[in-house]
Amino acid sequence: MEDLIDEFDERMAKFMEAYRAEEDEAKRQELFTGLYPRPADFAPRFRALANEFKGTQAGAKALVWIATNVYGDTQEATVDELLRDYPDSPLLEEVVPLLANRSDEGSRASLRSLLSESPHRNVRGHACRALALNLRGLSADTEDTDQSKSLMAESRALLMRVQEEFDDVPYYGGTLGAAARGELFESDRLQIGMIAPDIAGADLQGVDFKLSDYRGKVVVIDFWGNW
């Protein structure tokens, strides 16, 4: 298992190195067809390991690799398999965030049971946040105003709970608490229909201005970078 992961990582590193060294765009594209280790090609090998070691942490790890490297239906089915066969695994913390954007009722049921029953605090924390985001998405898609509001209130309460109970759980180089703070601001101030929070700062020539200077105009705000 570790050998297979290492093999993939080494090939990916080689590809990245060659890609960075190559400046010609056409040749860069050639690297994609040649050197690039396609996760879909590796997936059957991880699948074989998952079957061989079914019921063990190694089996769970093989499925986590598939779920976090392959997209689409395979990803969704693999996440569901992990939730069904390995509900007590600490490795679930890596795949639980993927449930935040799903619209099926089953994903919410899984998150609720992980939040109350997983023996691992990190998994419970990720489930708490993912459920909050999932319910926020559902709230936006719900036409009934009262129902939509109550889903939003539940989502908000879960984000508060992330900060109270799971503040220091690691997440992408930061913490779940920091992520939840940003997401609460988004819930409270950045939803469709809300007056946008003002922005005040310097422009690229160093002249101060405010977003609200443009009130009275239709405004596109574009978070961009030259990369």
């Binding site: 940003g182 997401e183 601001f185 988004e186 950045l190 939803q191 469709i192 229909g193 809300m194 007056i195 946008a196 929070p197 922005i199 700062g201 310097a202 422009d203 690229l204 201005f209 977003l211 609200s212 443009y214 009130r215 009275g216 105009k217 239709v218 405004v219 596109v220 705000i221 574009d222 978070f223 961009w224 970078g225 030259n226 990369w227």
Partner: protein, 100 residues
């Protein structure tokens, strides 16, 4: 993305419309050449020397670049995310709504 934004800004010159950027490049000096080369005429806030970790994108919880918000003339958030043709349609719709 620059060509689309250039054409939108050009097409709506004189209309009650503004494209406001929040730029997350770390190096403001280097960026000056890009502004000239790419003919970027619209105004941007600078997100500061921390780049994508700067204060504006952090407060707005921006996780991916580019991220788009579209506001109506009252400053209300009306759309999140539309790019390309969908962006044009959203803006044109809000301008039409504004004229009543």
């Amino acid at each position: 993305m620059y060509p689309h934004e250039r054409s939108l800004v050009k097409r709506l010159a004189g209309e009650p419309f503004a494209l406001i950027g929040v730029n997350s490049d770390k190096d403001l000096e280097k960026l000056q050449d890009v502004l000239v080369e790419e003919n970027i005429t619209w105004r941007s806030f600078w997100n500061g020397p921390e780049g994508t970790g700067g204060p504006i994108s952090t407060q707005w919880n921006v996780r991916g670049w580019p991220t788009i918000y579209i506001l109506d003339h009252e400053g209300k958030i009306r759309f999140k995310g539309p790019r390309g043709e969908a962006m044009d349609e959203a803006v044109d719709g809000l301008l039409a709504e504004m004229r009543g």
